[in-house]
């Protein structure tokens, strides 16, 4: 446990002169008025049958300033464990992640399977910093559905570091509505062969909201498959940031990795920043990334209006279809529907 004054904490925060935070200036976005800078918050966990939780120590080494601060302020790291071979029924729900630092470690043992639902939302003017570490043992599977929906003056950083052993499966779906600043970062370390990862997400921003979806995937084993697709919709004076990186190491032959970011700008005052990066040291790979930024296609809008669909409706239909693609592969109908409903509500 560390003790620091709020201003001292802020002085440790990353800022725009640091390459990884170039477009997300955390230091400038937080003030001493933000509650939670120097305290821990205890996540509320709804544990399904067979999943245990106990206070313990932090597992991995540090992976950046923010997780280190979280570990420093949180008195315990919540250790969640799914035993070997257990196919957990029903989701592990995690909420109450606002207004402080939280530290969690989830271990999914060999052949086990777990679904998590994380809700990152809370009252006004909170600062929240979550450090989530995950270990996926051989042949295990994790589905992570993340909803972030904060007030426009809240600041949030959520970092997940996922170490995956061979033949494990990660499915991740994020939906973010931003805040004064939200940074949702996922770091995946594929340590074995045959890992399959899906890392999709969408951000929908209005007002002066800011979301930063950052992904870092390191692939060290062969025959891994990675699919990442992030969709952004921004309007008013909001700003969307996407940073993605696939780092394919020399041994990671037969990697099949695809990254996409597509953003729709619905008003002239918005900003979108993207950096889809590939760093590749193995030759027998198929890696690709794509990025598009633009407005709705006027020709398609005209086509729809020609068929009698009013302009506003045409726009929302197209936007919804655009966003929904990020959740196409989510094969839990209820979970998918709940994400889509949130999207529709935002569009309405």
């Amino acid at each position: 446990m560390i003790h620091m004054q709020p201003d001292a904490v802020i002085s440790h925060f990353p800022h725009k002169r640091m390459e990884a935070w170039k477009w997300t200036d955390l230091r400038m976005s937080v003030s001493e008025e933000h509650m939670g800078l120097t305290r821990a918050v205890t996540p509320r966990l709804t544990l399904p049958d067979g999943v245990s939780c106990s206070p313990g120590n932090r597992h991995h080494g540090s992976s950046g300033v923010m997780p280190t601060l979280a570990a420093g302020f949180a008195p315990v790291c919540w250790n969640i464990r799914v035993p070997t071979g257990l196919n957990v029924q029903g989701p592990l729900r995690i909420d109450n992640l606002s207004g402080g630092h939280a530290c969690m470690f989830i271990r999914v043992d060999k052949g086990a399977s777990l679904d998590i639902e994380e809700y990152h939302q809370g009252p006004d003017r909170r600062f929240s910093n979550m450090d989530l570490q995950v270990h996926l043992a051989e042949g295990s599977r994790l589905r992570r559905v993340v909803v972030q929906n904060d007030p426009g003056n809240a600041v949030r950083v959520a970092t997940a570091c996922i170490a995956a052993e061979k033949h494990s499966i990660l499915e991740q779906y994020m939906l973010s509505f931003g805040g004064a600043l939200s940074r949702l970062e996922t770091r995946l370390y594929s340590e074995g062969e045959g890992i399959e990862a899906t890392m999709n997400g969408a951000y929908l921003l209005d007002g002066r909201r800011h979301t930063d979806m950052t992904g870092h995937v390191e692939i060290a084993g062969s025959h891994c498959t990675v699919r990442q697709s992030v969709k952004g919709v921004v309007t008013d004076k909001s700003r969307g940031v996407f940073q993605g990186k696939f780092h394919v190491k020399q041994a990671a032959q037969h990697t099949d990795a695809r990254m996409r970011h597509d953003a729709l700008m619905l008003s002239d005052t918005t900003e979108v920043r993207a950096r889809p990066e590939l760093e590749i040291y193995a030759d027998d790979v198929a890696c690709a990334h794509g990025n598009t930024i633009g407005a709705l296609d006027e020709n398609v809008l005209f086509y729809m209006r020609q068929r009698g669909i009013p302009q506003a409706r045409s726009r929302s239909m197209l936007t919804e279809a655009f966003v929904a693609e990020a959740f196409d592969d989510l094969d839990d109908a209820a979970s998918k529907q709940s994400l889509l409903t949130r999207v529709q509500e935002w569009l309405a």
Binding site: E19, Q250, Q253, A263, M265, L266, S267, D268, T269, T270, E271, V272, R273, A274, R275, P276, E277, L278, E279, I280, Y281, A282, D283, D284, V285, A286, C287, A288, H289, G290, N291, T292, I293, G294, A295
Partner: protein, 498 residues
């Protein structure tokens, strides 16, 4: 090629071995020529800067600018963000001025130092251009402003160009003869302290080319410059300024080779292009400097700042580059799309082999309305080389209707090399349409097999497929360069199949 490069089963071992044998003289342009040089003393200080300026008989303002740049440079730090790794450069262990000793100044080609002409011969400058140099009647019209080390030695076709009002001369001459143009445009695209190497260039630039195309003139020939670094340990700090006045057009070719060296050579040029209303500039480069031996020893460091300002409405600048040389490359030919409806293009082939490192790409800065840009980048990494495409596409709030399309493909040959893509995209207006696609893959075994089944050797098949991979860029090159470039692609990849 390195011994520990893993050879794929699919490849005929014999082919690889025979190519290895060729390796020794692979760099056929690596040789020295003995020409008297007049050196400034080694090292860099304010006096050296004064010496250079004095040698060139420069006006006061230019000396002032050099000194100011030198002061700024002292305070700057060498950038480290590029994906490159090389031993620290000792800036005090270099010469900053060298020129072939002037006899009387050649009045015709006959008077040119035969050694220099011999250098061109051995460089394999195309027959066409040799004819041009030799002044053969009816020779194709390619104007060659030959930069031998630092001082321009030969300029041909000046008269014909002059008829149209086109100015094509060495930068030093332009300083003497067209001071107003130089003073007005120099540094207006690349500010004096833009970056570390550009600032250094401002302090010690040696010579380069100057081009001015008057309003409404379509330059009657392609302007071509061969650069060649020759003196041991001589840094090259070329300075090129191209001004295309209203509604004019010019195509400019730059090509280079360098002799074999043990010591690293630093090359930090600045190229500035200004395109006024309705003007179009096409700038093509074939860069084939000494990349170092197969262990990466020696070789040129190429830290260049190239930038175009599409200042006028409806102007257009197109950069095409074939980069096969240098030990370390750091180069981002860019366009500032300031004029409404202006267009920028960047077509690039970069091939790295052996231990080469290249960090190259472009920046397209959209400021004006309806500005368009197009980026096609093809990177091929072989051997133990590393290559990075680094690009920025951005749109300003006022850049309504801005469009960019980027296609960025990398090919890996062998499993000891790396290919990286780092695009930055920043959009500040909804009417922007930015599209970026990138792929990384390797040569398909199936296609290789198909070619070999039809009787092509492994090497030929690779060359064929790689040329196909680069086609979109090759076809942007002017005719003069296209064939050379195609051969270069094949030569650069010799011994790399795997």
């Amino acid at each position: 090629m390195n011994a520990d490069v893993k050879i794929k089963d699919s490849i005929d071992r014999g082919t690889v071995d025979s190519v290895r044998a060729l390796e020794a003289d692979r760099y056929k342009y690596g040789f020295d020529s003995d020409i008297d040089q007049e050196f400034a003393p080694k090292g860099l200080n304010a006096d050296i800067v004064r010496f250079i300026s004095e040698k060139k008989n420069e006006p006061e303002w230019l000396l002032g600018l050099r000194l100011q740049a030198y002061e700024r440079w002292l305070e700057m730090e060498e950038p480290t963000w590029a994906n490159t790794d090389y031993p620290e450069i000792d800036f005090q262990d270099m010469y900053y001025y060298a020129s072939p000793v002037k006899k009387e100044g050649p009045k015709s080609l006959d008077e040119v130092d035969p050694d220099i002409l011999a250098v061109y011969n051995r460089l394999g400058i195309s027959l066409k251009e040799q004819e041009v140099l030799a002044g053969v009647q009816g020779a194709p019209k390619v104007a060659v402003d030959a930069v031998f080390d630092s001082v321009s030695v030969v300029t041909t076709f000046k008269k014909e160009l002059a008829k149209q009002g086109v100015i094509f001369c060495s930068f030093s001459e332009a300083v003497q003869d067209h001071p107003d143009l130089v003073r007005r445009y120099m540094g207006s695209v690349v500010p004096m302290s833009d970056n570390y190497y550009a600032t250094l260039n401002n302090a010690v630039f040696s010579d380069g080319s100057f081009v001015y195309i008057p309003p409404g003139v379509r330059c009657p020939m392609e302007l071509s410059t061969y650069f060649r670094m020759n003196a041991q340990g001589t840094g090259q700090f070329e300075r090129t300024l191209i001004i295309a006045d209203k509604d004019s057009y010019v195509s400019y070719l730059e090509g280079c080779t360098a002799p074999m060296r043990d010591e690293n050579q630093l090359h930090a040029a600045i190229v500035e292009i200004v395109a006024l209303e309705g003007a179009e500039v096409k700038y093509s480069t074939v860069q084939n400097w000494w990349p170092g031996d197969s262990e990466g020893k020696g070789g040129v460091y190429n830290f260049v700042t190239k930038r175009a300002d599409c200042r006028g409405a409806n102007s257009k600048v197109s950069w095409t580059q074939v980069e096969t040389g240098s030990a370390v490359t750091w180069k981002y030919p860019s366009c500032i799309l300031r004029g409404d409806n202006s267009q920028g293009e960047f077509y690039s082939i970069a091939i790295t082999n052996g231990c080469q490192q290249a960090d190259t790409g472009t920046k397209m800065i959209h400021l004006g309305e309806n500005t368009r840009s197009r980026i096609i980048s093809k990177g091929i990494s072989a051997g133990r080389s590393n290559q990075t495409y680094r690009g920025l596409v951005s749109s300003h709030k006022k850049a309504r209707g801005a469009r960019n399309f980027t296609q960025c493909d990398s090919l890996l040959i062998g499993d000891q090399c790396g290919a990286h893509t780092v695009p930055y995209v920043e959009s500040n207006t909804a009417s922007t349409q930015f599209e970026h696609e990138a792929t990384t893959s390797r040569l398909s075994d199936d296609r290789l097999f198909y070619c070999r089944q039809r009787g092509l050797s492994e090497e030929d098949a690779v060359a064929l497929l790689v040329n196909g991979f680069c086609r979109e860029v090759l076809q942007e090159l002017p005719m003069e360069f296209a064939v050379e470039a195609q051969n270069l692609v094949a030569i650069s990849l010799e011994g790399s199949v795997g």
